[in-house]
């Protein structure tokens, strides 16, 4: 086991409950290749332990395995070697305890906005009226009031993403796995939803694993930023973001913030360069 990859995140501020919400202890995952003859190593000896209630971002070059790791936590991929753990129990498959916002467009086109947001609640057997009520609140919160009856194909890409967010929030999972949820949004909506997410998180203290390419976003939201490197996918460094909470728009202008974001940029740039070099 490569020691340089192993790390523990400490979350000194709030939690006393030390059992990690999510953890992987030296998992490896291979994809079966279509062209090459050797199995393709996507995740190499990943060690990560995420305490309950913390907000962790995954950043790294494209193709380094961020989505794959998130799917492992969701139970949608069972790693070739080892198991991911949720509150100390091995994750054997997907369920509503691990909510996921997918990188792709995952809103159901055959249901209108209201029914999409109700879907998770319905699967859990919540009654019609209560369900409609909960869904309405979340639809309003993501700024889609008035579009309840619209079908996804009548919405813009950013609006569909917000439906997706409302759907996952409404189903109230224990951990939130978010794969570039704000990537397709316009800058203003993005800022608003970042603040909304922070507010929600500060209230509920759910465990969030958040994949992003936007380093400012990672620094602004997270307790910890995990930087991954590609080929094979591995953890290359970990940054603890000690910027005090609650964080507000002004936080972005502080020296501490810009310095951290700048350091992250440098690190990623190095990784991209070396990944490009090795692939040639």
């Amino acid at each position: 086991m490569a020691l340089k990859n192993s790390m523990k995140i400490d979350h000194s501020e709030t939690t006393i409950d030390w059992a990690p919400a999510l953890s992987v202890d030296g998992i490896r995952h291979y994809f079966s290749p279509t062209h090459a003859e050797r199995p393709f190593l996507v995740l190499d000896d990943i060690n990560l332990s995420i305490p309950k209630g913390s907000f962790v971002s995954l950043v790294g070059p494209s193709g380094c395995g961020k989505s794959t790791l998130l799917r492992v936590f969701a139970g949608l991929i069972i790693p070739t070697i080892g198991r991911a753990m949720l509150s100390g129990e091995p994750i054997e498959g997907p369920n509503e305890r691990k909510g996921m916002v997918f990188q792709e467009d995952a809103v159901f086109p055959w249901l209108n906005v209201q029914k999409n947001v109700e879907f998770g609640l319905q699967m859990r057997g919540m009654g019609g009226r209560e369900r409609a009520e909960v869904a309405r609140e979340w639809i309003e919160l993501v700024g889609l009031k008035g579009f309840e009856k619209s079908y996804p194909r009548e919405l813009s890409g950013g609006m569909r993403k917000r439906v997706d967010l409302a759907r996952v929030y409404a189903s109230n999972p224990e951990v939130l796995l978010m794969d570039e949820p704000f990537g397709a949004l316009d800058a203003l909506t993005k800022l608003r939803l970042q603040d909304e997410l922070l507010r929600l998180w500060e209230q509920s203290r759910k465990t969030v694993v958040f994949v992003t390419h936007d380093l400012d976003e990672a620094v602004y939201l997270s307790d910890t930023v995990v930087v991954m490197a590609a080929r094979p996918g591995r953890i290359s460094s970990v940054y603890h973001i000690d910027i005090p909470r609650p964080r507000r728009f002004e936080t972005r202008a502080t020296e501490q913030f810009t310095a951290l974001a700048h350091r992250l940029w440098g690190e990623i740039e190095k990784l991209e360069a070396s990944a490009g070099g090795s692939s040639l």
Binding site: L76, P94, N95, A106, M123, R153, L177
Partner: protein
């Protein structure tokens, strides 16, 4: 140096814009909106008018050409009955109830066979398209049955079941099944996996993923299958009645030939075409209603 001089002397055109003040020209905007709405409706109805009139035109042309051919001195009225004879035959057929009877007999058979065949195709096709193991099990059987036209089973069906009503319905059900299941299976294989994954992370059981995600997602394909197999069922029916029946439109075709009454043949052909067209139009309207969410609903 000269370049710089030129740039200095030519005045640069500037962007001009007037800022929208709050609530200016509200009344004007409303009038414009109403105007736009009227234009949209007009465009839609103009399109519709064009579609209908061109459709009628093409029918008229076909009838006119037929008329001209029958009016030629060289044409044989026994083989090409003039439109007058056809209309008379049609009126007689309606008055003595024989056309109605034939149509009713055929429609009853098609409805029974079509509904049975498609119901089985939707159940079997969706399961074999979604659950890989069932697919492995059934694919060879279904795929080997598909290239054989349903009509080719008629001799066997007659040997086993005689030439009763059940045998005819069975053949039609079989024809509907064979053409419907292809598209149902394809639809289930095309379901984007991310929808199923999203449903699972929202707490859906595998059964719910099948019923509430895979089936709705495949609905456009299922509808395509329903429309294709309606044509197949109708066509097979006529052929089945040609071979073995004492009633129905196919029988009418065959009787027209046997008694050398070509106008009966043409009347039967027109009715078959018309009913097929109406049934497809009905399915299309249903599809447009049910699949409003899909970009393929048109």
């Amino acid at each position: 140096m000269t370049l710089i001089a030129v740039q200095k002397t030519e005045p640069q055109p500037r962007v001009t814009a007037r800022l929208n003040a709050e609530a200016t020209g509200r009344a004007e905007a409303q009038a414009q909106e109403a105007e736009a709405g009227r234009k949209f409706r007009e465009q839609a109805s103009a399109k519709r008018r064009l579609q209908v009139s061109l459709g009628i035109l093409s029918l008229v042309i076909v009838v006119a050409i037929y008329w001209i051919i029958t009016a030629l001195p060289s044409s044989n009225p026994a083989l090409l009955p003039p439109p007058g004879v056809i209309v008379r035959g049609f009126v007689n057929g309606i008055l003595d109830g024989s056309l109605f009877e034939a149509t009713q007999a055929s429609l009853g058979r098609v409805a029974a066979g079509y509904v049975i065949g498609c119901a089985v195709a939707i159940v079997v096709g969706s399961i074999r398209g979604w659950y890989r193991i069932v697919g492995y099990l059934l694919d060879p059987v279904v795929d080997a049955m598909r290239p054989v036209p349903a009509l080719a089973y008629i001799p066997l069906v007659i040997l086993w079941f005689g030439i009763g009503e059940g045998a005819r319905i069975l053949v039609i059900a079989f024809a509907s099944f064979l053409s419907c299941i292809v598209s149902v299976t394809a639809g289930m294989k095309e379901v984007p996996i991310v929808y199923a994954d999203a449903a699972r992370t929202l707490g859906a059981s595998e059964r719910m993923v099948f019923l509430r995600v895979a089936i709705p997602s495949a609905l456009p394909y299922i509808f395509a299958g329903l429309r294709v197999s309606l044509g197949a069922a109708w066509g097979t029916l006529v052929a089945a009645e040609l071979i073995a029946a004492q009633s129905g439109l196919g029988y009418l075709l065959q009787a027209g030939q046997a008694f050398f009454r070509s106008e009966l043949v043409i009347i039967a052909l027109v009715i078959i075409g018309l009913i097929g067209y109406l049934m497809d139009a009905f399915l299309k309207a249903l599809q447009t209603r049910l699949l409003r969410w899909s970009s393929r609903s048109g």
